[in-house]
């Protein structure tokens, strides 16, 4: 009886001997996995730290407080408060006047230009808006906080070294002295940069804002979502549930898969040729951007939607058909609701792709310098990633932080979109 039990014990011993190796392999595998996750997280942290570190200062803007005397003779000589006259008046002169009053001993044209250069060109617009809103201010002296020039801003944020030789500095010695006097008078300070969220692009970094690009991206994505989601879902449902399986549908499937791998700039070229040149849609408009990005995201959403439809158990379809539902009823009442969460996931992946897409937008002119905030899908606009590209390409030091700030806005937009998708998915999954 002991003989047959011998081999059993042997095999136990062999298993035991092998176990050590197997456990080691297991541990090694887990270790590699942890390394990979750790590495990924590490890079993510580096990315966030560098972007937020560079960009957060763009949300603050150096401002200079001026006492501006609003002289009726120079603004509104006739005294009738005609808005057209007020609109066209020279407010820059008032700002310059108040600067001269602050530093009465500055003489010479060159020095004065340097002095005026401390405040932003946008200051006169701020003043104009204030007066237009309240004409009773004319004739009084008001305390006005105006944006400082981007070089002053950079100096205050410590990006320009005050100890460097004058020739290497954008802020000259005399300007530095004035700024120090302003600091001593407590006239220069930092405030939340509302302009960044309310302005369009500008050649002046202190006036440049993200709103134009943000609205452009929102309109573009609106068009993309509105077109690609229904089209892709309809295509996926037809191909998966109704289409006969033959050579033609195989061909279509192969082509959809290939389409997903086409470089996006090709879609941009197509958009230029078809939508702009043939259909003569406006250049640089979110409608064209949306159409092009629709072409690009369609295959992504179709593939994801088909996968979602495939994952619905066939027993659900059979059950519905078995009680006499027509194929369309089976799909509409039972299959589609079950596939919807998966479809939404695919859609959000496609939309995130579309949001970050730059190349095709360059081809259709959304790379143009557009200072106005678009008011609709037919207005010229740019998009967030293109804006980032434009600012990254600009020489002024102040655009460095603007670039990072725009990236922060883009990432927040993306996060908001994903959060919305998660929310929607939860809702649909819970609906019994």
């Amino acid at each position: 009886m002991s003989e047959p039990s011998q081999p059993v014990r042997d095999s136990f011993a062999r298993v035991e001997a092998g176990m050590k190796r197997r456990r080691a392999a297991e541990r090694r595998f887990r270790f590699f996995g942890k390394c990979a996750v750790g590495l990924g997280l590490g890079f993510l942290v580096i990315l966030f730290v560098s972007i937020v570190g560079n960009g957060y200062s763009a949300f603050w803007q150096t401002r200079i407080t001026l006492e501006v005397t609003i002289d009726e003779a120079s603004i509104d000589p006739s005294g009738v408060r005609d808005p057209a006259v007020l609109q066209a008046a020279d407010y820059g002169a008032l700002i310059k006047q108040s600067m001269r009053e602050l530093f009465p001993d500055v003489s010479g044209r060159r020095n004065r230009i340097a002095l005026y250069g401390l405040v932003s060109n946008g200051a006169s617009f701020d003043l104009r808006d204030r007066i237009l809103a309240d004409p009773s201010l004319i004739g009084t002296t008001i305390s006005l906080s105006v944006a400082a020039d981007d070089d002053v801003d950079m100096l205050m944020k410590g990006h320009i070294d005050r100890g460097a030789p004058e020739a290497d500095r954008r802020i000259k010695d005399n300007q530095l002295a004035w700024i120090e006097k302003l600091e001593a008078d407590d006239r220069i300070g930092s405030a939340f940069n509302l302009d960044f969220f309310s302005n369009g692009d500008s050649r002046e970094p202190e006036l440049a804002g993200i709103r134009g690009a943000l609205m452009g991206s929102i309109y573009t994505l609106f068009v993309t979502l509105g077109l690609s989601f229904p089209l892709a879902v309809a295509a996926a449902v037809y191909l998966e549930e109704f289409a006969p399986k033959n050579r033609w549908t195989d061909l279509i499937e192969v082509n959809i898969n290939n389409l997903a791998a086409v470089p996006s700039i090709v879609f941009g070229l197509l958009g230029l040729a078809v939508f702009i040149n043939f259909f003569t849609l406006p250049r640089s408009a979110p409608i064209v951007g949306g159409l092009v990005l629709t072409l690009m995201t369609l295959p992504t959403i179709i593939i994801a939607s088909r996968a979602a439809l495939k994952s619905v158990p066939p027993s659900i379809r059979e059950g519905a058909l078995g009680v006499g539902a027509s194929p369309m009823q089976a799909v509409m009442y039972h299959v589609l609701p079950l596939a919807l969460p998966g479809m939404l996931t695919g859609t959000i992946i496609g939309m995130a792709q579309a949001l970050g897409e730059t190349a095709p937008l360059l081809m259709i002119g959304m790379v143009a310098f557009i200072a106005d905030v678009p008011a609709g899908v037919f207005d010229p606009a740019t998009a967030l990633p293109v804006q980032i590209y434009l600012w990254a390409d600009s020489p002024e030091r102040a655009y460095v932080e603007k670039t990072s700030a725009a990236i922060i806005v883009l990432l927040l937009f993306l996060a908001a979109m994903n959060a919305l998708a998660v929310l929607l998915r939860r809702r649909f999954e819970r609906r019994w």
Partner: protein, 295 residues
């Protein structure tokens, strides 16, 4: 086992193909002679009458020349080894095979004297008259109420919400499920136990008041207690409906059915009163199967 098998084949050469399991049933198996049916395939009061039904899956000849009646108020059990075509035949009766790619059905199938295979027949109302319950309980991932209400709603059987509720309640009562679910009609149907889910599927099928109910191994995924409940239910439903049930359990066939049909590799081998089939089978294959020699 192998030795036994070859010995058996040597002794009974005509049974050699029967020893093959379906997975091995290659096309060569199907080149053999078609076997005729023993026993009375016709019923005195037929609800459905099938004549010379053939089914092909691509190149495979899955059902060969099957003629069979489903009588009124009778339970017809279909038994046979796996892959013998009994489920395929069942799915012909409400044209569920239409949904299978590459499946061709020919022959004549009459429901109350009208051919359901005719090209102008709409399968949607047909499936309302011939309901189906599947092997695996497949309630919709919706509430218990919605599961039952779906059929009546799409067919417009209820004029009002009150009427719809009445249909749902009576269907659940007929399916012997009402007592267990009456307090949680709004709960998901998928949250019920396996046996309850299957009774829910039966309630769903009878909610549209069909004439025939097809059941494809309805108890194969259930425990004995749930099975007993379903069998009792089938017996009660016989009063109002004709029922075709495919089953792997011969005890079940013996318990619930009045007539039994034995399928073998696409042929209908023998049909007869259940009592007779199980006591005195006429065909050797039937006898081998029900005595457990193979299958």
């Amino acid at each position: 086992m192998e030795a036994q098998a070859s010995q058996f084949m040597a002794e009974n050469p005509e049974h050699a193909p029967a020893r093959r399991r379906p997975a091995e049933a290659d096309s060569a198996t199907y080149d053999r002679e078609h076997r005729g049916t023993v026993g009375e395939v016709r019923s005195e009061v037929p609800r459905m009458r099938c004549t010379a039904v053939n089914v092909h899956y691509g190149d495979k000849h899955a059902i060969r020349d099957v003629s069979l009646d489903v009588g009124k108020n009778e339970v017809l059990a279909m038994i046979g080894p796996s892959g013998c075509g009994k489920s395929t035949f069942l799915r012909c009766l409400n044209r569920m095979n239409d949904t299978v790619v590459g499946c061709r059905v020919s022959g004549e199938i009459l429901l109350d004297g009208k051919d359901i295979m005719a090209p102008d027949v709409d399968v949607v109302p047909l499936r309302a008259r011939v309901g189906m319950v599947f092997q695996k309980p497949n309630p919709f991932p919706k509430s218990i109420f919605e599961n039952v209400a779906f059929g009546p709603r799409i067919h417009g059987l209820a004029q009002s919400q009150a009427e719809l509720e009445e249909i749902v309640v009576s269907s659940l009562q007929k399916a012997n499920l009402w007592g267990e679910v009456k307090d949680r009609l709004a709960h998901p149907g998928t949250g019920l136990s396996g046996g309850q889910q299957q009774r829910l599927c039966i309630a769903r099928a009878i909610a549209i008041q069909p004439e025939v109910i097809l059941m494809d191994e309805p108890c194969s995924a259930l425990d004995p207690i749930s099975t007993a409940k379903i069998e009792q239910l089938i017996d009660e439903l016989r009063r109002n409906y004709s029922i075709c049930i495919v089953t792997h359990s011969m005890q079940q066939a013996a318990r619930v059915s009045q007539r039994t049909a034995y399928f073998h590799l696409g042929d209908l081998i023998e049909v007869g009163e259940t009592d007779r089939i199980f006591v005195k089978p006429q065909h050797q294959l039937t006898e081998d199967y029900i005595t457990g020699r193979f299958g």
